[in-house]
């Protein structure tokens, strides 16, 4: 077709421009396709990922964008098979608040156990069990170690619908075949982009495009800030905790709570099965610290006790270690800001030492 020499009228231009395919259109089409393939591959393939160095670069929206820091850290670990034994701690914001800085946790663990270890804390506020599973699986892609999964009876009772919402709001930046399969089995068929699939991973980047552009313009690159903002400003006013709606949790419907707990236990069962096939990965279930002083409601305490018993049964049946080292650490109620988030570096150090004592046997007796 000759594009160049025929005289155009407006209607010609419109009809041929839209409904015939010339060289310009073909070249644009191929360029878009090739660039699109390269970009997609670079974003969602862990081996070619922009996060291979373990940091989110300019993709983190803020110093507390823990989904981005966890994603980058997991992909970084997946891209490195060398190094000391790795200890990867996954969980919710309770775990994040409990351990704070991974560097500081690593220091304490190395000193206490006498072993060189690499510690990563892959936790974020909206993490479900499935997020934690995807992050742990990615971290141990090329090398083994100790996988610590932080859980608690309250979040075991998060309903499938609420889990769906959390997955919808907080996609991870990579696709995960095992997490996708488990999400499909546990949460059922979904009428939207499949959780933990390649398109779901693209949502992570799409949601951060504006902040990425802002960061590029301003040359800004965030470091993870694991302490709460008011901890960093000793002069600043302490938050009024009594006003916080989330300062405690109550369970309204016991039957519903136990039904969703059973769903979560089935997910846990599948996660244990997955890691059983990895002889180089030791999975430890770790109960998150809880501030029992805020959980005074009798029905809530009974429901939690029931959930705890079911969890212990599962651990016994599957021969998996269920650690209560963090739960039993002598943390004062004043060191929590609510039902379970710790806001005290002294308390964090206690928990780091408790973790060291728990995992020391798994690292062997002889210091390297």
């Amino acid at each position: 077709m000759s594009d160049e020499h025929c005289p155009f009228t407006w209607s010609d231009a419109f009809a041929r421009g839209l409904f015939s395919t010339g060289r310009i259109s073909l070249v644009t089409c191929l360029t878009c396709f090739v660039l699109g393939c390269l970009l997609t591959w670079r974003l969602i393939a862990p081996d070619a990922s922009i996060f291979a160095d373990g940091t989110p670069g300019r993709w983190a929206e803020s110093p507390r964008d823990f989904q981005a820091f966890a994603t980058a850290s997991a992909i970084g670990l997946a891209n490195r098979s060398e190094g000391p034994p790795r200890i990867v701690i996954a969980g919710t914001s309770l775990i994040l608040a409990a351990f704070g800085s991974p560097e500081r946790t690593q220091e304490v663990l190395q000193r206490d156990t006498g072993h060189p270890v690499e510690v990563a804390v892959l936790a974020a506020g909206a993490n479900t069990l499935l997020h934690s599973f995807a992050l742990l699986d990615m971290s141990f892609k090329t090398s083994g170690g100790i996988a610590i999964l932080g859980i608690n009876e309250l979040t075991l009772g998060v309903s499938p619908h609420d889990q769906d919402v959390m997955i919808e709001r907080s996609p991870l930046g990579f696709s995960s075949m095992p997490a996708r399969a488990l999400a499909r089995t546990a949460l059922g068929s979904r009428q939207r982009i499949e959780a933990f699939g390649p398109f779901d991973a693209l949502r992570f980047y799409a949601a951060r495009l504006r902040s990425y552009a802002r960061n590029v313009r301003s040359g800004r690159q965030f470091e993870a800030q694991t302490k709460f903002p008011f901890e960093r400003e000793p002069e600043g006013p302490l938050p009024d905790l009594s006003a916080k709606a989330w300062s405690t949790r109550t369970i309204e419907d016991d039957a519903d709570f136990m039904a969703t707990t059973e769903t979560a236990l089935a997910e846990l069962d599948a996660i244990i099965t997955h890691f059983e096939s990895r002889s180089d990965v030791a999975l430890v279930l770790m109960l998150d610290p809880l501030n029992l002083a805020t959980l005074k409601d009798r029905r809530t305490l009974e429901a939690l006790q029931q959930a705890r018993e079911r969890l212990e049964q599962l651990a016994r049946r599957r021969g998996i270690r269920l650690s209560d080292a963090l739960r039993n650490a002598p943390i004062k109620p004043a060191q929590f800001i609510d039902y379970g988030h710790i806001a005290s570096e002294t308390a964090r150090n206690q928990l780091r030492h408790a973790l060291s004592a728990e995992i020391a046997p798994l690292l062997g007796d002889q210091p390297e």
Binding site: D3, P7, F8, T9, W10, D12, A13, F14, R16, G17, L18, T21, G22, I24, S25, L26, V27, T28, C29, L30, T31, C32, F33, G36, C37, T40, S175, M177, R180, A181, L182, R184, T185, E194, G197, P198, F199, A270, T273, H274
Partner: protein, 49 residues
């Protein structure tokens, strides 16, 4: 007069670029769906535990 002759042509080029862009995206989407249906990065198949 000459400038008026060029205007429809420029409009044609813009439409062709747009058409190429849309076709490229559709081709990319089809390619990803094809890969996901046939390979390890499946969107629709899944393993049961």
């Amino acid at each position: 007069m000459k400038r008026n002759d060029q205007a429809p042509r420029r409009f044609y080029i813009v439409l062709q670029v747009l058409q190429g862009f849309v076709l490229g995206l559709l081709l990319l989407l089809a390619f990803i769906l094809f890969l996901s249906a046939t390979s390890d990065i499946s969107l629709f198949r899944y393993q049961q535990f």
